[in-house]
């Protein structure tokens, strides 16, 4: 049987990096094939090459045994290759069926198309209402629209790029059922991920990439997570050292009854949120993205002023009315999820980025910035936090995501905060750097600081947190002790089932996908 898709010696380089280096892989009809690798391993580039969104410098692509010439996405679709991107390409202000119609060839027949959408979505267990506005859909539902859009074209090969990063654990299982059904019907699936458990659960073959090269091909159902991780990272991962610790007598940071209107229509309003973080512990906030995490982070950090000063209290002092700089003066550290453009100024050198928040460490005298001190501070952070950079003169946007994150985390920790809020600490960070960042967070919490971690990765939260809150529709759950809870309970709370009251509007953005 000819492979559905065969890659031979695919290479692609960008200035300064070789994204793909002589990559070969083949996918059989009906096979669910994982492409596994850390961020930056070259997975996305490879998928773009297959889909025709970019072209390889060398190598060839065969589809059902036939050579595919240099092609664009339109040719791919003719060949039966469809792709669901990590970031959806939907127009929010029009309905589901109108969105789908835009990508269908031929004359537009909205009524007929709506029927087919219903039919396909029912057949594959992906319920969506074709007449709903995309604006009102949850992220999980939007993903379903993207998948249905692909399925309508009866693909022979479906590419999914990190599809579960926006889903609850229950929704992930539901998605996997759909994918298995597709595979049974003979559709090949290329499943891109860095999550080992999912790949072991779903896929029949895994091609592992590291630094743009294939480092192994294996049956993930038989391999252990540790073996796969070793292929991905190139070495064994360090074990997390989590010691038990003494909690402070009073909470260091507390949020009480915080209610805050969303700044835009697509934002989420916060509804009477209360949380406490004691010195010596790590508190996690779980949730599917877009449920108010961004708003909560901004309200705690001071990027947004809250309605009342008492909404946010740091060591007994109300700080809700203070801006981010004044809150930092009082001992609140913050690492945002966007590193470029928020945590750091992209075109600036690391030394200049040190000045951004560390200026309070004696880098300003008589109104003049002391560049020498800023350089020394940056060098210190680079050494201590093992940042790979060409010294303090390196530009922030020249660093990889993981290294910039280590720099920003290091910079904030060196300010010696009493409480540290960190949002998506390991987003886009490679496995090695992620382990380093997590260990750093554990270490500072064990030295008596309070750490609050907002993350969409449950695995991460369960690994490092002492207590977990769940945010859903802008409301925060009760705190759960990690030792007494499990992924299922947290997953249910993430869908909003755990919440008692049902506020207006929440029905339109429900997560029925999960149940």
């Amino acid at each position: 049987m000819a492979p559905r898709l065969e890659l031979r010696g695919i290479s692609k380089s960008y200035p300064g990096v070789i994204a793909n280096d002589n990559i070969s892989l083949s996918v059989l009809p009906g096979e669910i094939h994982a492409v596994l690798g850390e961020n930056g391993a070259g997975k996305s580039t490879l998928m773009k090459i297959i889909y025709g969104a970019t072209h390889a410098d060398e190598g060839e692509i065969r589809c059902d045994g036939k050579l595919v010439p240099e092609h664009g996405p339109a040719v791919s679709r003719e060949l039966g290759i469809e792709m669901v991107y990590q970031h959806f390409a939907l127009f929010e202000s029009i309905s589901v069926v109108e969105n789908i119609a835009l990508s269908m060839p031929g004359k537009m027949d909205l009524d007929g198309l709506a029927l087919r959408v219903r039919e396909v979505s029912e057949r594959y267990g992906l319920p969506i209402d074709p007449d709903r506005l995309v604006l009102t859909l949850s992220v999980g539902e939007r993903q379903r629209v993207e998948i249905v859009r692909c399925l309508l074209r009866e693909p022979k090969l479906l590419i999914l790029d990190e599809p579960t990063s926006v889903l609850t654990p229950q929704a992930v299982q539901k998605l996997f059922e759909t994918l298995r059904q597709l595979s049974d019907e003979g559709c090949s699936i290329l499943y891109i991920s860095h999550k080992l458990d999912e790949v072991r659960d779903l896929c029949q073959t895994a091609t592992v990439l590291r630094n743009g090269q294939v480092t192994g091909e294996t049956d993930p159902r038989k391999a252990t997570s540790a073996e796969l991780a070793r292929m991905m990272v190139g070495s064994d991962l360090p074990e997390m050292m989590v010691e038990s610790s003494e909690l402070s007598n009073a909470p260091i940071l507390s949020v009480s009854n915080l209610t805050l209107e969303a700044e835009s229509v697509t934002g989420t309003s916060l509804k009477s949120i209360s949380l406490e973080a004691y010195g010596g512990e790590i508190v996690g906030i779980a949730g599917v993205s877009g449920n108010g995490q961004g708003e909560l982070a901004a309200a705690i950090s001071g990027e947004r002023i809250t309605n009342a000063a008492e909404d946010v209290v740091l060591e007994g002092r109300p700080i809700g009315h203070l801006d981010a700089g004044k809150r930092r003066d009082l001992g609140l550290g913050f690492v945002p999820e966007e590193r470029l453009g928020r945590g750091a100024v992209p075109p600036y050198e690391l030394s200049e980025n040190a000045l951004l928040t560390a200026h309070r460490k004696g880098m300003v005298k008589h109104g003049m910035a002391n560049r020498k001190k800023a350089r020394e501070f940056a060098s210190h952070v680079i050494d201590k936090y093992k940042v790979k950079a060409n010294g303090p003169e390196a530009k922030a946007h020249g660093l990889s995501g993981g290294n910039l994150q280590k720099f920003i985390v290091g910079r904030e920790i060196e300010l010696d905060p009493r409480a540290l809020l960190i949002s998506q600490p390991t987003w886009g960070v490679d496995v090695g750097a992620a382990a380093h960042v997590r260990q750093t967070l554990i270490d500072i919490s064990r030295s008596g600081q309070a750490v609050i971690v907002i993350s969409e990765e449950l695995e991460e939260l369960f690994e490092i947190c002492d207590r977990i809150y769940v945010i859903c529709h802008g409301k925060l759950s009760q705190s759960l002790n990690r030792a007494e809870t499990n992924v299922e309970e947290v997953g249910l709370l993430m869908t909003g089932i755990g919440s008692q009251t049902n506020d207006s509007g929440s029905t339109t953005e429900g997560f029925d996908y999960a149940v």
Binding site: P15, A324, L356
Partner: protein, 367 residues
């Protein structure tokens, strides 16, 4: 199209890509490339008009600087451009777009002249400093209007500053046609001449260049220190380069708005004062040949850097003089001079693109 490329198997294509780091060599070479391209293209342009390109270019660029008067005029015109551009660059770095320096210049000229003509210090040595202060306050006050509106009501300062320019011009026109018209001026729409104490001294009575150029020099140094060394300047440029990072750090955006607009308003107002207390000596309906607008170009040619602005100001001033020179010596219409100026500025700004981007050859291979 793809097929056609494949048939010509060795067709060279170019791809534009961002440089990982801005190129230092290119930063120096860009002005030279621009000048070279301008000379080549304009030579062709002059040839088709039947002109000798060497003579024309000489007349444009060199002849104005061969006389002492030429040099004096060169610096005299460059001075307000540089002064205003310095002020503007402080705001521009923070994404505060003051397009109305022309109006602030006019207001500064009006307030300075008001002090010079109507306050009882006519014979005092304090008059000139007082006029300077009045000019600064006039320009700042005019810029405070858009600052207030942007800070409190989130209006667009580009529109407000621009519209206020026309209002300033009308205020000036009303004053010189009405209440401030010189009673002994034969009904010309202009004020009386400023007293001697209210004028900057000239270096040589034969030429117009005056001591106000030192003020510009001081402002250039202050601007450099502010933008390159001060913490406030750093905070403002963070606000321009990455507004979310400024919010993350807790740098106030409203401070940036106020400082950006007030600094540029002050510089423009001071430039207006220097014009009336220098070459003009009085107010008339037309007091500036568009210095406030040209300074925007100067600020960008100088890449918002104080030293670059000095060079940019000298260049634009030379373009003004060169335009006059070819009109006088070669009888070229002024529109040709404008085309030539446009060409140089175009190439200059376009070649700046090469600092952050590069072209890469890609060879198409047959499959």
């Amino acid at each position: 199209m793809i097929l056609a490329q494949q048939q010509r198997a060795l067709t060279m294509l170019f791809k534009i890509e961002a440089r990982p780091e801005p190129s230092r060599q290119m930063a120096l070479a860009a002005p030279l490339i621009a000048t070279g391209l301008t000379i080549v293209i304009s030579s062709i342009f002059f040839l088709t008009l039947g002109l000798n390109p060497f003579l024309t270019l000489y007349t444009f660029f060199v002849e104005p600087l061969t006389t002492k008067n030429g040099l004096s005029e060169w610096l005299l015109k460059a001075s307000p451009l540089i002064l205003i551009a310095c002020g503007l660059s402080i705001g521009f770095r923070a994404n505060v777009w003051n397009i109305g320096a022309e109006g602030q210049l006019i207001m500064g000229a009006i307030t300075a002249t008001g002090v010079g003509l109507f306050l009882p210090f006519q014979e005092s040595g304090l008059l000139l400093p007082l006029m300077a202060v009045a000019g600064v306050i006039g320009g700042m006050a005019w810029a405070a209007i858009p600052a207030f509106l942007r800070d409190r009501m989130n209006t667009n300062e580009i529109l407000v500053t621009l519209m206020l320019t026309y209002i300033a011009a009308l205020v000036l026109s009303w004053l010189v046609h009405g209440p401030w018209r010189d009673p002994e001026g034969f009904n010309f729409p202009q004020t009386a001449l400023l007293p001697n104490q209210g004028m900057f001294g000239v270096f040589d009575y034969a030429y117009r260049l005056n001591t106000s150029i030192f003020i510009t020099g001081v402002v250039v140094v202050l601007t450099w220190v502010f933008t390159e060394r001060s913490f406030l300047g750093y905070k403002m440029s963070v606000g321009g380069a990455a507004p979310s990072a400024a919010r993350f750090a807790g740098f106030s955006s409203s401070a940036s708005i106020w400082i950006g607009l007030l600094a540029s308003g002050a510089a423009a107002g001071l430039a207006g004062m220097m014009e009336v207390a220098g070459p003009l000596g009085q107010l008339s309906p037309q007091i500036s040949p568009g210095y406030g607008f040209a300074a925007i170009i100067v600020a960008f040619i100088g890449r918002l850097n104080a030293i670059g602005i000095v060079l940019g100001g000298l260049l634009l001033s030379l373009l003004y003089l060169g335009g006059e020179s070819v009109q006088l010596s070669l009888g070229l219409p002024s529109s040709i001079a404008l085309i030539f100026q446009g060409m140089l500025l175009f190439f200059l700004l376009a070649s700046n693109f090469l600092i952050n981007f590069r072209f890469r050859k890609i060879a198409m291979r047959a499959h």
